[in-house]
């Protein structure tokens, strides 16, 4: 026969389990209710989802106008040591930008060229999930933004980003900024930074600096949720590709390889 003390303990354990099952998350799981992840699904949450198309058929090889415009606009420093490099928009080879999709039999013109790349402003941004201070967050228009005042420099976001779009300030950037634009603050040692999709310009009704600087019309910026927008027209006429689509981040930056009539 079970002694009284053991019976009591078993009864208490049973009660504790029932109590646990009654808790909100457990009920949700039992009743099959959807549990909302920390990043709400759906494009932006405000009807707008800002995105970009990079049309490589129009992008001129060797041109760096978009890079320069971005770096001037946001006071991005130019370090001599590549280990210190701060990246907002930069260029990299086909095999690095599209690993998994790139192959050796692709046209030589593609394999040999540099491809502009930047933060993808993902619909499901891993950097937002891992940020412990909510310094990185998704705006209602889909832009993955940074609040530098909250960044503690932990660099979880750099580990989380599958595209290498984030850079850490190992050194004071100020002495390495060529021309200072007083309309955008610099950063300081100890914070992470990345492309902002020109949030500060967009909020004032302007387009991104890189798009404005591109003379060949290779960069198109717009609202991916608006079927009548220029960006959607371009995407309806051309096959577009995202970077590392298999990860489920759903980038808002799309690439065109062979141009149609745009």
């Amino acid at each position: 026969m079970i002694d009284k003390a053991r019976r009591k303990l078993i009864a208490r354990l049973g009660a504790a389990i029932l109590f646990g099952l009654g808790s909100a998350p457990a009920l949700d799981a039992l009743l099959g209710r959807a549990v909302r992840a920390s990043t709400p699904k759906g494009p932006g949450n405000g009807g707008i989802r800002r995105g970009m198309v990079i049309n490589l058929a129009k992008c001129t090889e060797g041109c760096t106008k978009c890079l320069e415009a971005c770096h001037t606009e946001h006071n991005v420093p130019a370090f001599d040591n590549p280990k210190d490099e701060i990246k907002w928009i930069w260029k990299d080879g086909y095999h690095n930008v599209f690993p998994g999709q790139a192959h050796a039999l692709a046209p030589q013109s593609i394999q040999g060229r540099d491809i502009p790349t930047l933060c993808n402003h993902c619909e499901n941004p891993p950097c937002v999930r891992v940020c412990p201070t909510k310094a990185t967050f998704k705006r209602p228009d889909g832009i993955v933004a940074m609040d530098f005042h909250r960044c503690i420099g932990c660099r979880f976001c750099m580990a989380g980003c599958p595209y290498g779009s984030r850079s850490f300030n190992w050194r004071d950037p100020r002495p390495f900024i060529k021309t200072v634009n007083k309309h955008y603050p610099t950063r300081e040692k100890g914070v992470v930074e990345k492309c902002s999709f020109c949030a500060s310009r967009v909020d004032r009704g302007l387009g991104p600096a890189c798009v404005e600087a591109c003379v060949s019309g290779a960069l198109v910026f717009g609202n991916l949720n608006d079927p009548s927008s220029e960006i959607r027209r371009v995407m309806a006429d051309n096959l577009t590709m995202q970077r590392k689509p298999e990860l489920g981040t759903n980038p808002s930056v799309y690439y065109i390889f062979q141009g149609g009539d745009v």
Partner: protein, 125 residues
């Protein structure tokens, strides 16, 4: 108690010395520095008394409004509109940061950490 003659005066002396800063009439808080504003500007974003007491809170509101709430315009209590920018609005009128912000902060012992990132007119020179 042994050595009462030594211990008691010793205690009294210790108490007197330990509480010296509270009762000794020394030191002087000084007068707050005069504020320096660009000539020709009459009023601040909000009334001067409000600014003096609450400018740090206002700056926090400005920061959150611009960075997190997508709103870069501030409407003051009198209905005037201001572009939200520490560098281009506050420091446009208060263009002499070291004589205005810094001098008062030195006086008050406040050390805002903003200028490693936010550009001041002094940075251009």
């Amino acid at each position: 108690m042994h050595d009462k003659k030594i211990v008691l005066p010793g205690l009294a002396l210790f108490l007197a010395l330990a509480t010296l800063p509270f009762w000794a009439p020394s030191g002087n808080a000084g007068t707050p520095p005069e504020s320096v504003v660009k000539p020709g500007t009459e009023s601040c974003v909000e009334p001067v008394e409000v600014m003096r007491a609450r400018h740090m809170q206002l700056l926090n509101e400005w920061r959150d409004s611009a960075v997190r709430d997508l709103n870069r315009e501030y409407v003051s209590s009198t209905g005037k509109k201001f572009n939200i920018s520490l560098t281009n609005t506050c420091l446009d009128c208060h263009s002499n940061k070291s004589e205005f912000c810094d001098r008062c902060h030195d006086y008050a012992g406040a050390r805002p950490r903003c200028w490693g990132c936010h550009i001041t007119p002094e940075d251009h020179q």
